[in-house]
Symmetry: C2
Subunit: 169 residues, 2 copies
DNA sequence: CATTTTATGTCAGCCTTGTTGACATTCCAA
DNA sequence: TTGGAATGTCAACAAGGCTGACATAAAATG
């Protein structure tokens, strides 16, 4: 996998990575992820929600009319766990669940006005942090950032990640 | 902050970032973090531990003889939460807690042989994933990756991250 | 020396979010 | 018609966050 004689991305080939360097990267990942979630967490807290709600709102917004099963695959949790979160969002009027047209067993999920509003607030806070980081690091760094992250995903996940579609409202 | 007329890292200045690009980055972060934690999680599971134990082991290993208070600051949790984890690690003989020499109120924390062994297994799994990602992406990408992550941290955290010291056994 | 502050530990209780297992309903498909 | 897939629901449990209260020892400070 990483043994090929040439590197596709134009870097020098032989990479000597000390444990020290790798540890730095590991800790950077840990601390950065904390920053990454800090702003949305504050907003969620005001509404009495947690990260699980954020994730659900995010992916319902991204893939308009997604089914519960699709959501389960992306989020990687059990249906019982997702269901609890989903139920509160539906009860609170942030998410609408409509019976599927072609397959009436399925539930298609949509954000309501207020659901979309919260999602916007959350993602705007997160985008702002990401934007600032991107600006500070520069475009070349951003490209590298994305390359490393993508290489760090599990294979099946990378497939899902790469098959992202624009939402069609 | 991001308004300076020049970019320090040699990139072009004007960065036009669409919400689409930022969303891609956000999701990359989400999915990559899952991959990042997947391998240690499996090992931890076999031992009946969770991520909280991993974090404690990691930072006790990194800063040899650290105090409980130091650990609290780095981990960003309450002492009650940390204590629960620490207690099980001490009971299980993975961590040793010694009364401080200069300040007898403090407890200095050390990994035992078996604690160090588990830490090694966990970090080696994580390093291996990181190493593979680094190799796949190349050295230039790695530099960018680290730059963006560092810019994404909270300010106080970045200070902690940058003041990493080699452990002195 | 008396008092206050600091570092740590511990108990109790609560919340979110993950888990498993069991079971019901609905409905497509063979 | 029957099997299986998709979904929902109930119950129980665990990890690991949180708060609040309280105890102890030791350091720091008046």
């Amino acid at each position: 996998m990483a043994d090929g004689p040439t590197n596709s991305s134009g870097g020098e080939n032989l990479l000597f990575l000390t444990d020290e360097q790798l540890r730095k990267g590991i800790e950077a990942m840990f601390f950065a992820y904390r920053g990454f979630t800090a702003d949305p967490d504050r907003i969620l807290d005001e509404h009495g929600y947690g990260r699980a709600h954020h994730r659900a709102l995010h992916f319902i917004n991204r893939t308009y009319g997604t089914t519960v099963n699709n959501l389960l695959l992306v989020l990687g949790v059990t249906k019982q766990s997702l269901n609890r979160v989903l139920r509160t969002l539906i009860e609170d009027g942030l998410v609408e669940s409509r019976i599927g047209k072609t397959d009436r067993r399925e539930r298609n999920l949509y954000l309501t006005e207020s659901g979309a509003a919260l999602e916007r607030a959350l993602s705007e806070a997160q985008r702002e942090r990401m934007r600032a980081a991107y600006r500070a690091a520069g475009p070349q760094a951003v490209a590298g950032f994305r390359q490393v992250l993508e290489a760090m995903m599990d294979d099946e996940i990378r497939r899902q990640y790469n098959s992202l579609r624009e939402r069609r409202p």
